[in-house]
Assembly symmetry: C2
Homo-oligomer: 352 residues x 2
Amino acid sequence: MRELDLPDLDDLARGAALLGSGGGGDPYIGTLLARAAITRHGPVRVVTVEELPPDALVVPVSMLGAPTVGVEKLPSGKEVHAALRALERVLGRAATHLVAIEIGGGNSMVPVAAAAETGLPLLDADAMGRAFPEAQMVLPTLSGISTTPMTVADDKGNTAVIDAVSNHWAERIARAICGEAGCSVYTADTVLTAAQARDTLVLGTLTLAQRAGATIRLARAGHADPVRAVTDLLGGAVLAAGKVVDVSRATTGGFARGEAVVHGPDGTLVLSFQNEHLVARLADRVVATTPDLICVVDTETGEPVTTEALRYGFRVTVLGLPCDPRWTSPEGLALVGPPAFGYDCGYRPLPS
Amino acid sequence: MRELDLPDLDDLARGAALLGSGGGGDPYIGTLLARAAITRHGPVRVVTVEELPPDALVVPVSMLGAPTVGVEKLPSGKEVHAALRALERVLGRAATHLVAIEIGGGNSMVPVAAAAETGLPLLDADAMGRAFPEAQMVLPTLSGISTTPMTVADDKGNTAVIDAVSNHWAERIARAICGEAGCSVYTADTVLTAAQARDTLVLGTLTLAQRAGATIRLARAGHADPVRAVTDLLGGAVLAAGKVVDVSRATTGGFARGEAVVHGPDGTLVLSFQNEHLVARLADRVVATTPDLICVVDTETGEPVTTEALRYGFRVTVLGLPCDPRWTSPEGLALVGPPAFGYDCGYRPLPS
């Protein structure tokens, strides 16, 4: 058990935004939520999976929606609570631990805020080892664990409890509600026992994100290269560097979809995203694809750049980081490989 | 208490389709459901509001969606059961009586089928005294009764429980799910006590619909004018008669919206509909509007024509029937008057 307190939040948010592969919601709004909650209620207890009692009830809580909307439509702070309470009513049991559904800007901070408010310990793990845009795109799906019962809560006070025949249908129904409710709702879903948490989550990612964020900060403070420092820490590869010369995006179907073009000495890199960066093409050749992490950072400061923050003129470095190995199984690739997002390329392992 | 049995179904469906003001879903598919259920389980007990015990739990069950889709996408028959069971789980109490949310083609028959399957008695009443396209457009809304908890079940086996801050939000969320699930779902909502049922429903409408259907049938059998017979029975007025020369419709936002043009000796009548007929203009003058009933029947046979069945070449008579007087209160008109559907005219009482 360790404590997560106010001074930790910026490092966590920075590192999570990096590992989120450009997605997972805005880190700064998530940080505001977490900061307000910790200020009111005190630090959050972070536990490892080994510390879970056998009868633990681990509940992932998260924001669902288009990040482009999330940065403009602030949560009231009550949504995640409402989603959690609605889920507990359905289960007839209280959550014992919270966990992040994904490591990504905002969605790493949402459970921190909820943990501070509820006093529940937060598990040092997440269900993706990165961020993905859809509710069924979690490792527990590969183990047959149901997304539902899933609860959805909006900023107005509406809630819905979904019971779906498949995890994909849970996503479809939640996304439909999300769209109607203004493209930004909060959810609790994919309830896990202690054993399921141990077997299906990516462990230690909260701590890893915090370390990555600290590494960037410390390198900068020591006048070292923050991009190299964090790439070395995470075992990644630089795919390209250059200047963002074009970004096209549209908020469609509850997602932020688009492409960004980076001009650099190695040629033109095109990033295709759907909330997260999913495919990178350098000089028309695919160099990285989902489920590996494609991370965009400011070349000078090392600060991660989320898909919704990407702008013309940014000088960025694009990193490739290997995903959790379970994602590159045939079942994993069927769920989150490029074709699952409508891209016509297959999975391409990162250059080694 | 009386029994509703197989020979009653055609009259009920015909009369309900008439009173539904062109909407409420396809009467023939509803009849198929009811016929199958009664054949398997025996006749349905129909009770009056006076027969309700004080501790009754009256649950309206219905189809929600676009009638244009409803005629092509048949229900599995399990949806309404799933919606009812999900609602009972949330309430922690079993329904004691079922009731129609609206009098309209299919939605008068859905509770008949559900009553036969569950063995629950069916209350002789409905929540509109006609059909309207949206969930909040019921008389209980005028008395502050909540639509939620509302359950939605689709043909695939998905269910959702909605808890909304207003009846309008319940409709919006249910409609979003409906659209995603294929524009045809089944719902249970607007739960009523015995006292609420007595005070807020339109009483006797199941029996009235059956009588209207029988009147049309008997007039035809006796070579009398079925249109005049049913108009006299219901105290309505003939607005116009003629030939349908144009129908434009689109299935948008989960509704069947459009206009129909009827040419006749009295001039051109334009019917504007959104699942139900809502505004009638004769020679550009508004002659009838929601919430009064605008009913289209085959001029020769007296058979009601639903909005989704309306076709070029049909010879029709358009009737206006007065709505329940509670609908023409200021609150009623705010909820279901022409502006509530986006039409720019005010309510115009029927010619007397």
